[in-house]
Subunit: 266 residues, 2 copies
């Protein structure tokens, strides 16, 4: 690829992909992105709803789903089947040559089952990532394919594993950024969420912070502007940047080029 | 690929893929096949079971599932998610670089929604195949990838469509046989089923008919040796052969190189 190639990894959560109107907005924006692109999606709400219909209780610990054998079947059906293929079909209808994937397909993301935590919590069939095959992803991009990736992977021993969609997006972006052949390209990671960006005041749309560096992040946390769940999200973003991702963007589905940019500039 | 390349398309029905012991037997045999290979699977029993758990009645007409919007969600989850990814993970564990696909992925199989039949039957979201991209499948095989294909495709307008797994296998084999670049290769199609092959007497394992040609087929039907559901199965086989597939085999999962061969020799 040319010297100015930019690989775009877009992560979108369940709330968007499970609402057909919002999904249409996202996909209309997604197709406008020029150059190689990857879509990583969630689907947790549909999984919880299907579990409920089947009389299976969804247990969450720290925002993560306890994945017993029955729950693994459900997330494999919902993330790998329903949500993934719905997006693929809708991208194909928009002229994008989408290919639905999990980390098991082409052995793209290898993981191991998370050990029982020191607190004694067994997350079940939840994966912690060992490695990802950026070269294989890169090959797909060079074939003009747009990977659509579900938050599932495998243990190499025949079991699927559930992983967090934010983690999958970070894994994929980092693998692409470090892939052989990718030296002349850079990779950006965009987290779509319900707000227009990281805000000084969530009630004031004009208060988007356009750029956050590691230095400004420290001050924004120190003065209380950034707090709560936004802190780990931004810590993840800086982790991706330290691992080679050129920039991380946090924005609304309707404005993929806008929002807040987390950059490596100090 | 070399002059002696043989592409193998193996179709296996729901009864096998939904029984973990039988699936293991099949996959152990499948990995032994040398050269490029494709696995096409069903999953109807699990779909029927999930529909029942969700209080949705499965309606079948002539062995084909009436696929309303709710049923489409179910088959997309079961075929495209649960069954497909379970097979992919288990092939990866056996060292086969499997990639799970539907006809929507990479736009491999284009179809249209089946019109209401002259008898007034609306099959719903059931697809009739328009075309298949043998060149794209071929490219995957040349990359060392083993496609695992669910009996689902799409209409190019954003909807997934349910198709019969036998039809998907025939479509895929025919597309490979006719793909550009495939001129130096031949493609065989293997239908796995519960018997060791086409039998003169289903109760006598030694009565397998090793080879059937169009000429011998006529006599076997005329004298009543072949009857019932085996007739359309063999007619499909001859259709594949007339469309360029080198041979069709009907055999048991434990003996992929055995059974009955339907060949183009007169």
């Amino acid at each position: 690829m040319g010297t100015h190639t930019l690989n775009n990894v877009i992560k979108v959560g369940g709330a968007v992909v499970e609402d057909s109107a919002q999904l249409a907005i996202l996909l209309d924006e997604f197709v406008k992105i020029e150059g190689p692109k990857v879509l990583v999606h969630g689907g947790g709400r549909t999984a919880t709803q299907l579990a409920k219909q089947l009389g299976i209780e969804s247990q969450m610990v720290g925002g993560r789903r306890i994945t017993d054998a029955e729950t693994l079947r459900i997330v494999t059906m919902v993330y790998g089947g329903l949500v993934n293929k719905t997006i693929v079909a809708q991208l194909q209808a928009r002229g994008v040559n989408a290919l639905g994937l999990t980390g098991a397909d082409m052995n793209l993301v290898r993981a191991h089952r998370r050990p029982i935590t020191p607190e004694g919590i067994d997350f079940g069939f939840v994966g912690d990532v060992d490695s990802a095959d950026g070269a294989a992803l890169y090959q797909l991009l060079e074939m003009g394919i747009t990977p659509v990736i579900a938050p599932l992977t495998h243990d190499g021993q025949g079991h699927m594993l559930n992983i967090n969609a934010d983690t999958m997006a970070q894994t994929v972006a980092t693998a692409l950024a470090n892939a052989a052949g990718a030296t002349s390209a850079s990779t950006t990671l965009t987290y779509c969420f319900e707000l227009p960006g990281v805000m000084r005041d969530p009630a004031d749309p004009s208060s988007i912070i356009p750029e956050i560096t590691e230095e400004s992040f420290s001050s924004l946390v120190a003065d209380g502007t950034i707090s709560g769940g936004m802190i780990p999200k931004l810590e993840n973003a800086f982790e991706a940047i330290r691992a080679g991702v050129a920039a991380v963007r946090i924005t609304h589905i309707s404005n993929l080029q806008g929002g807040t940019v987390i950059s490596s500039e100090k």
